[in-house]
Amino acid sequence: MANFKELNISPVGRVEGDLDVKVYMENGVVTRAHTQAAMYRGFEKILVGKDPQSGLIVTPRACGICGGSHLYCASSALDTAWGTTLPPNALLLRALGQATETIQSIPRWFYAIFATDLANKKFASKPLYQEVVKRFAAYVGTSFQKGVTASGRPVEVYALFGGQWPHSSYMVPGGVMSAPTLKDITRAHAIMNQFRNDWLETVWLGCSIERYMEVQSWDDLMAWVEENESQYNSDLGLFIRASLEFGLDTFGQGVGKYLAWGTYLHKDLYQKPTIEGRNKAVISASGFWDGERYYEADHRQVMEHVKHAWYENQADALHPFDEPAPTGSTNSTILENTNFDGKYSWAKAPRFMEHAAEAGPLARVIMNANPANLDHQIKDPLFADIMKVKGPSVFTRSLARVHEAPRLYTMINDWLSQIDLDAPFYIKPEEKDGIGWGATEAARGALAHWIEIKEGVIKNYQIIAPTTWNVGPNDSNDNAGPIESALTGIEIEDPHDPVEVGLVARSFDSCLVCTVHAHDNKTGKQLAKFKL
């Protein structure tokens, strides 16, 4: 006899706002999952009628862990709307802000948010469990403090140019506010060197950055792990071995379609910012990959669905430029009482070419493997191979996230050395009405801002964050969002401690504290509810 269960877990995610997940189980397998973003602030609505530059102050505060990424978008949206001219130094300093924020997030995410789950008792019978607990247990793990402390270093570089992290507004239309001196550049190099010596090469890789970046395929990676004791026993080596031993490569596949806006506008290729010119100017390539081929990341292919989102007075499947400022519904419910045929989340459901798409590091590294990438763009075939050999999973997604650290380190050093202290950092723009679009890759994926300025104030401001792509609810055709899809089909060993759900949600690094509710599929009886 089939055993139907329903699981509500509470919370899973861990950065900002709350996410509730409800899973329905049958014989221990998830048959259906719904994600419910449980908090609304209405930042887009607040921006309407305000000073056109308000987004520079307001949007970084949408998410404290991705504030620099919001700023990158907000300044870029104004650049395209006003038709500014950007000096190369400004593009370098903005890229540095984006890159240092992202590399900060890698150890912070790995140690504070993800790896503590590997120390869950579910894995207690595995041979590597003791070693994992010794290193990754919260606070007391031997690598935990090193990793969390290291994560604060790269944002010191951000602060050198932006004044502070989080929540600077140093990127402005026309360039940046700061005008660094040689002292700042030298100090930034020194900080990054310390980051490399204290954590990246010593604790994390167990080898030089150059050696790690020779890895081109899954077989190369496996050979790298086995190459010597230092790599085998590094935190990355242990993470790979434990992931395979614990089976993290066997679940959490997702929708199999990926979107990246790309980022790091090249210093010489975006001095006249336009919406159309952006894709060719980014160093980390943009694109949409449907599992077979690559498509151009054209923002006009984005539509937001609200059939299942608590917004009113809004037609379904609109492009952000055509959307009204969101009017929050007064009829929101809690997950236990929700009818999933109706509205059930504060997140909208964005779709690209009508598909749900996963945003995040995995999408980025898939775009990096596009053979059509231009000479100034990253070319890294590794994840084309991994997607072929292993496919997507909790492990693949997590590996993509940490894989970026060595490359980011080298790019940050290169960009620091390219700053020309005698050249301008800012060219004062002329303010005017118009429409603009700014995008980037936040640590957790594709982020974009759409702005319309009319009569000198903001008429419309729309933000689609990576977490919107990943945690969004069903669309108007009732197709599941990426996390909903990734949860479907997973096996939950112990419905009273559904760590598998937590691992899936955290592999997406959703910036929401996530609550999971488990329910019996037949009786609807709640079995368990956990904050993870």
């Binding site: 504070a112 506010m177 809690i334």
Partner: protein, 321 residues
């Protein structure tokens, strides 16, 4: 030893991210060396898999001693006062907050949203957000004017968007080691130790302020008060005394102070012409002037200073590298 419970309402987690950058002490040292026991925190909670609602109820019933209740983010009261726009553990967060604030020895509001309502409370305030004991400049907020926690203090406000990690850790340590009596608070419930001075104290462009040398974006030196809306002269905070991320501050990076430790932030509710621009009378007199003297007296002194002073021109000012 102090049990700390940290919850987030209408929050961006910026204060948590700031907290994780703490240096002396680090977050880990706070726990291992300073007797802070984090009962639960959305990002770094030790109690993985713990049923948090049971824990919260245990705090409310007094079964678990709640020494410090830290709240980050606005109190979301929408729609129509129900609080349903921010659900947590199957209840409106605001209902948890009210009961936990009553159970706690001390209540600490961290960041602008929790202290004064912050950006979410900017009109039209779609989520009906407010602060713990203030709504913008007005006392009251969610818990009301008369609220006093069991430890005998009103909500201790640590504003800033975000708050500096040292402001957070030092107050937690003060409570934990029994020295909260040494922490005096001002009219906006801010610990005076961090919020008596102005941001301008220690600003590397302070000389340019007194000599009326204009600064602007992308250039070295010059004061940002005159053209791009710096609020350093009228904002209480120690940003140039206790630097950010070890190295810097907004004004030292040529970034105008946004005045984010004052209850008016974001000032003028972001109205047209108020963002990164100094609002002026007659096109040249700053509408807001440093406190301590009348506007007229300031204009007079500033005018005389501008004529008599012989500052280097803004073009050459500080142009070294």
């Amino acid at each position: 030893m102090a049990n700390v419970l940290w919850l987030q309402g209408g929050a961006c987690s910026g204060n948590t991210m700031s907290f994780l950058d703490a240096e002396e002490p680090t977050v880990v040292e706070l726990i291992t060396d300073f007797g802070i026991n984090i009962l639960w925190h959305p990002t770094v909670g030790l109690e993985i898999g713990h049923q948090v609602s049971d824990l919260l109820n245990s705090c409310i019933k007094g079964e678990t001693q709640l020494d410090i209740f830290v709240f980050e983010g606005s109190i979301v009261q929408g729609p129509n006062g129900t609080g349903k726009m921010n659900y947590f553990a199957d209840r409106p967060m605001m209902d948890w907050v009210r009961e936990l604030a009553d159970a706690a020895q001390f209540v600490v509001a961290i960041g602008d949203c929790a202290t004064y309502g912050g950006i979410p409370a900017v009109p039209p305030n779609p989520s009906e957000s407010t602060g713990m004991q203030f709504h913008k400049k007005n006392k009251g907020g969610f818990l009301g004017t008369d609220f006093v926690s069991k430890g005998g203090l009103p909500v201790i406000n640590i504003p800033g968007c975000p708050a500096h990690p040292d402001w957070i850790t030092q107050i937690l340590v003060a409570i934990s080691v029994g020295r909260i009596g040494d922490v005096l608070i001002d009219d906006y419930h801010r610990p005076k130790t961090f919020f008596s001075d102005f941001v301008q104290n220690g600003c590397t462009n302070a000389v340019a302020f007194s000599e009326k040398v204009n600064g602007n974006f992308g250039q070295k030196g010059g004061c940002l008060f005159y053209e791009v809306g710096c609020r350093g002269p009228m904002t209480h905070a120690s940003c140039n005394r206790i630097l950010w991320n070890r190295h810097n501050s907004k004004t030292r990076a040529n970034h105008p102070c946004l005045g984010c430790t004052e209850p008016g932030f974001p000032h003028h509710d972001l109205k047209k012409g108020s963002v990164f621009k100094t609002m002026k009378y007659l096109g040249f007199l700053p509408k807001e002037t440093p406190p301590g003297e009348s506007k007229l007296a300031y204009y007079f002194k500033a005018g005389v200073g501008k004529v008599l002073g012989n500052p280097e021109s803004a073009d050459n000012y500080g142009k070294s590298k």
